[in-house]
């Protein structure tokens, strides 16, 4: 790119001045057009997170705002040395790993069905969008009532569970109930992303493998899955980060009882319920950093190329 904007004389082969003027004008227009969106996004995220960082160095309780006091990294030390923090981090990672694994497998099965189906395409797509669109709180309630032994149907339908089994009386069953609700709601989203990836695998290749005598499983693992890798990785990345923030279902179904609390829930509880804004802010910063770490690990581990997935290169 030449930078001869100021020189009026043009030699042959140089970019004519009107072109670089135009480039500059385009540059300016582009920046003007994105500025409002960028400013709004940054004002409501960057500014509060910086403020959270600042507040996290204080002992600041809303019930006694005058006693605000600089305590340095005390809040972080307290959080990081507390077993509650690590238990909630561990719980969150379990929620993330288990739900995403189930969503991936079930979502892929659904995507295969939707890909093959010719009749009733509209009906099946409409149904699959309903869990996606429904309020998470509503799905949380629906599943909570389904699992309660007084009036739910789950115990009656499961042969290996007694009629008065209390799903919310212990950690493992309560976590299962929360995960069922989460998986129910988000599998359709996963399956739609996988369906789009499936549509990009060329039929010729599958046909060729078939002619060469590959079995159904061989075609799936050697042809279909490798060719939709980018779509799978992006879907996993998006869903994993979303699952890591799990909050709504836990709030509605157990309110954190029976050790079902996630790291988001702990942060909420400290800052909003207990008015400990200093401690809450430190947890907010730690939550933010842990999300960055999870994103980094997924991108590195699975070598997700976001630009390639978007068709930019």
């Amino acid at each position: 790119m030449t930078t001869t904007i100021a020189t009026p004389a043009t030699k042959a082969g140089d970019i004519p001045p009107e072109v670089s003027d135009r480039t500059r004008a385009e540059n300016r227009l582009g920046m003007k057009l994105v500025a409002p969106a960028l400013i709004v996004m940054l004002v409501v995220t960057a500014f509060p997170i910086l403020r959270a960082l600042w507040l996290s160095f204080y002992n600041y309780s809303l019930t006694a705002p005058e006693d605000r006091q600089f305590v340095g990294i005390d809040n972080y030390v307290t959080a990081l040395t507390d077993s509650l923090f690590w238990r909630d981090i561990g719980m969150t990672v379990i929620y993330m790993l288990v739900t995403v694994a189930f969503e991936l497998v079930i979502g892929f099965a659904f995507a295969m069905i939707m890909h093959r189906v010719i009749f009733a395409r509209g009906v099946i797509r409409t149904s699959i969008l309903i869990p996606y669109g429904i309020i998470t709180v509503v799905s949380g309630f629906a599943w909570q009532f389904a699992f309660t032994y007084q009036n739910g149907f789950v115990n009656g339908w499961l042969p290996f569970v007694s009629a008065d089994f209390n799903w919310f009386g212990d950690t493992v069953p309560a976590v299962i109930a929360i995960m069922v609700s989460e998986i129910w709601k988000t599998t359709p989203f996963m399956s739609l992303l996988l369906l789009a990836g499936l549509a990009q695998v060329s039929d010729d290749m599958i046909e060729a493998a078939k002619v060469d005598g590959a079995t159904w499983w061989q075609r799936l693992f050697k042809v279909i899955l490798p060719n939709m890798r980018a779509a799978i990785m992006v879907a996993v990345l998006f869903r994993a980060l979303d699952a890591y923030r799990i909050f709504d279902n836990i709030f509605v179904m157990t309110a954190g009882a029976q050790n079902t609390e996630s790291i988001s829930f702990l942060t909420y509880r400290q800052s909003i319920e207990q008015f400990q804004l200093g401690m809450g802010s430190a947890l907010a910063v730690l939550l933010f950093l842990s999300v960055l770490l999870v994103a980094f690990l997924i991108v590195k581990l699975f070598r997700v190329d976001l630009a390639q997935a978007r068709g930019e290169s």
């Binding site: 540059n27 709004v40 409501v44 009906v123 149904s127």
Partner: protein
């Protein structure tokens, strides 16, 4: 056997998607007594059918009606504002060459991954100082920042597919630039903008974290938060039947939008996230 696999699969998908919906509808017709005493367990309201009682009771509740109005108003305003700003940004990203394009896209992506709860404690404190706590703008502003990334990504994916040269072609054929824009570009871009608006609306309608933390009264509390705080006449027993009726009412707008625009929503979800 092979022939049966596909129809069975379809049936399975449908049951998966609709079972909890059917269940919450069924629950909304059960009487409160039967639900809290557990006298009518099972799926259908066989012994405890109460007709529309739960619905009329919920509809007569002022707080519930207020929260529906709040949700519709706040989500619509946030959607309109964020789609308007996102359209400008996405146009620039799809059509112009400028510095900072990648920066905008990566900022949007980073914010989409941001843990919402991280913002709650600083915003709670800031909003109380600015007088935005428990107001409509106090929710619209955070909703915008979280719906913008989604809208920008969806729209820039859509706009990249538009053959922009057609605008010049129309001008060569004698159209003024306004005519060329209005008659050629607007019809091509409108479906994408509309799809982005639907997805944005879903996003705002579904929000829970901001709803419970940045409001305290019915002045601004949206429906998901109102549902979670809904107590009913007996504070010691969650009013399952009433809650189910309220949940069904809150779900109706989503079902209508899905029924009407199923094709567009699928296109929007997949193009924004996968195809590019």
């Amino acid at each position: 056997m092979r022939k049966l696999a596909l129809p069975l699969g379809v049936l399975l998908v449908m049951v998966w998607c609709l079972l909890p919906i059917a269940w919450i509808v069924s629950l909304s017709f059960k009487s409160q007594d039967a639900v809290s005493n557990g006298t009518d367990p099972g799926f259908l309201p066989l012994d405890s059918f109460t007709g529309w009682d739960n619905y009329t009771a919920v509809w007569d509740d002022d707080q519930f009606r207020r929260s529906i109005i709040n949700s519709i108003g706040i989500s619509l305003i946030a959607t309109i504002l964020s789609v308007a700003l996102a359209t400008l940004a996405a146009y620039a990203i799809a059509r112009l060459e400028f510095k900072g394009k990648r920066f905008v896209l990566s900022t949007a992506l980073a914010i989409a991954m941001f843990p919402v709860v991280s913002l709650v404690s600083p915003l709670f404190d800031l909003w109380r100082q600015f007088g935005l706590y428990d107001t409509w703008p106090g929710l619209i502003i955070p909703y915008m920042s979280f719906t913008l990334p989604l809208a920008i990504w969806t729209l820039s994916a859509f706009f990249r597919e538009i053959p922009w040269e057609m605008e010049q072609a129309a001008q060569v054929d004698g159209a003024t630039s306004w005519q060329a824009f209005r008659k050629v570009i607007v019809p091509l871009a409108a479906p994408g903008v509309f799809t982005a608006a639907i997805l944005t609306f879903f996003f705002a309608w579904n929000d829970f974290v901001f709803g419970i933390t940045l409001t305290s009264t019915e002045a601004a509390r949206p429906i998901p938060a109102a549902l979670s705080f809904f107590v009913g006449p007996d504070p010691f027993q969650r009013p399952a039947g009433l809650l189910a009726a309220a949940a069904v009412i809150a779900t109706i707008p989503i079902v209508i939008i899905v029924l009407l625009f199923q094709r567009k929503i699928v296109a929007g979800l997949t193009s924004g996230a996968v195809k590019g």
